[in-house]
Amino acid sequence: MTANQTEEAITPEKIRSDIQEFLTTKIEVAPEVEEDLFSSGLITSLFALELVTYIEKTYGIEINGVDLKLNNFRTINAMIGLVRRIRAEENVE
């Protein structure tokens, strides 16, 4: 599979459904894309790290220090933005 094909396959829609599915299996609710996962008490720091690892593994990316900010994981939309930005940066490199 070339980088371009991978890029096409991983649409924002795909990321959304992946993450929603992961959250559904883990916390048995499917949050809305703009729902604040932390203020709603859905996520602990242990689970936040699970999310980081899940996203890294699913999209073959590395989420380094600078991006380990709660705001990047606060909503599903924020996570979609993070994955797309890191993938774009890695393709540039």
């Binding site: 992961f22 936040a48 593994k57 709660l70």
Partner: protein
């Protein structure tokens, strides 16, 4: 690394430690030569990837290395935990440049240590007061870190502190101006692990010393990410403690006779033996599970690391207490192997997240909707 190469390395560690762990414990110091030799072979942070000059072994294999070393000397194992955790912090939080700058040094003889705790911020790390303040092309670090394991031997200190409205980890050379160490005398356990309080007074470093080049991360995420390594490592160290206890208990129960028969044939002693055996087996399984989660990059890893640390440290504390009871006066000299295990194990229920903090994390994990 082939199984033969791995066996060579553990044999080497065994030869270097030989029968000296009690003397090191008494002297509250590990020989510089020992740490230099093991450090240069990459054994103090053995998971550093080959691309960065490390041995690049899996968490599971490093676990075995940690358990074997911990079965001989928990102080040496503590240095492995600290240096490995410092390397992991750089790998996890640093950018490519920082990995290239720091990891090959740690994999080739330098020793790392990580500072979380402060006088007012033990279990409650949110109360942390150490400041990492950006100042143009520099950052200024101010704070006091307590009970930093291996700090007395470390070349590189990874210091966690506040940064803007979040947190950051910064790599501080131990010889940077403004860094002062205060050794902690007579710790209960791991007496030769080089515990120290580290005082940082207006320590001025290039801004590029902040891991990831930019702070402001979430403190709980930062801490959980770094401690995952330390927790698995401490847990494997506890497996080592339990192996030593099991070995001592079975030998003693076979060889010592009371009331006309070996201790092993007394049922109340046999129960202790069963308890130590079960403690060692269960701890090993919990550690294997955590390491396999780590190696397969399973999202379950962080929780599995807490679970392994929780189970293994409690089992080591209970198992070493049983071993003390069976060996009785034969282990009652403060520096014998089982007495060390007893003291070291208690400390393992305190560091890297106390037993109670692990319980809170596990309960919350279990309760997550």
């Amino acid at each position: 690394m082939t199984p033969e190469e791995f066996a060579q390395e553990t044999t080497l560690i065994g030869e270097l430690v030989a029968d000296q762990a009690d003397a090191w414990d008494e002297a509250e110091s590990l020989p510089a030569e020992l740490l230099r030799k093991l450090g240069q072979r990459g054994l103090l942070c053995a998971q550093v990837p080959v691309a960065f000059g490390g041995l690049g072994i899996s968490s599971e294999l490093n676990g075995e290395l940690t358990a074997v070393s911990g079965s001989w000397c928990s102080s040496l194992r503590s240095v492995m935990t600290s240096s490995g955790m410092a390397a992991w912090a750089i790998q996890r939080l640093g950018n490519r440049q920082q990995r290239e700058d720091y990891l090959p040094q740690l994999a080739n003889g330098q020793i790392g240590a990580v500072g979380f705790s402060e006088r007012l911020a033990g279990s409650d790390l949110a109360a942390m007061q150490t400041q990492i303040r950006p100042d143009g092309e520099f950052v200024i670090v101010d704070g006091l870190k307590c009970w930093m394991t291996a700090a007395a031997y470390a070349d590189l200190l990874i210091i966690i502190g506040r940064y803007d409205d979040g947190a950051a980890a910064v790599a501080v050379p131990a010889n940077a101006p403004g860094v002062a160490l205060e050794r902690i005398p007579r710790p209960l356990g791991c007496r030769a692990a080089g515990h120290a309080n580290v005082i940082l007074r207006s320590v001025r470093l290039p801004a590029a010393s902040v891991l990831g080049y930019c702070g402001g991360q979430s403190l709980p995420m930062l801490v959980t990410a770094i401690l995952a390594y330390g927790r698995i490592s401490v847990a494997w160290g506890c497996v080592g403690i339990l192996r030593t206890c099991l070995n001592a208990v079975t030998q003693h129960a076979r060889s010592r006779t009371q009331f006309g028969k070996p201790l092993a044939e007394h049922q109340l002693v046999a129960r202790h033996i069963a308890q130590v055996y079960a403690a060692e087996q269960v701890a090993t399984r919990a550690c294997e599970h955590a390491s396999r989660c780590w190696d397969s990059r399973s999202p379950e890893m962080a929780a599995a690391a807490v679970l392994a640390k929780y189970v293994s440290s409690a089992n080591a504390a209970q198992g070493s207490a049983s071993a003390m009871q069976v060996l009785a006066s034969a282990a009652s000299r403060d520096t014998s192997a089982v007495a060390r295990a007893f003291r070291d194990a208690k400390l393992m229920e305190i560091i890297e997240g106390t037993h109670e903090i692990c319980e809170l994390m596990l309960a919350r994990h279990a309760l997550t909707p």
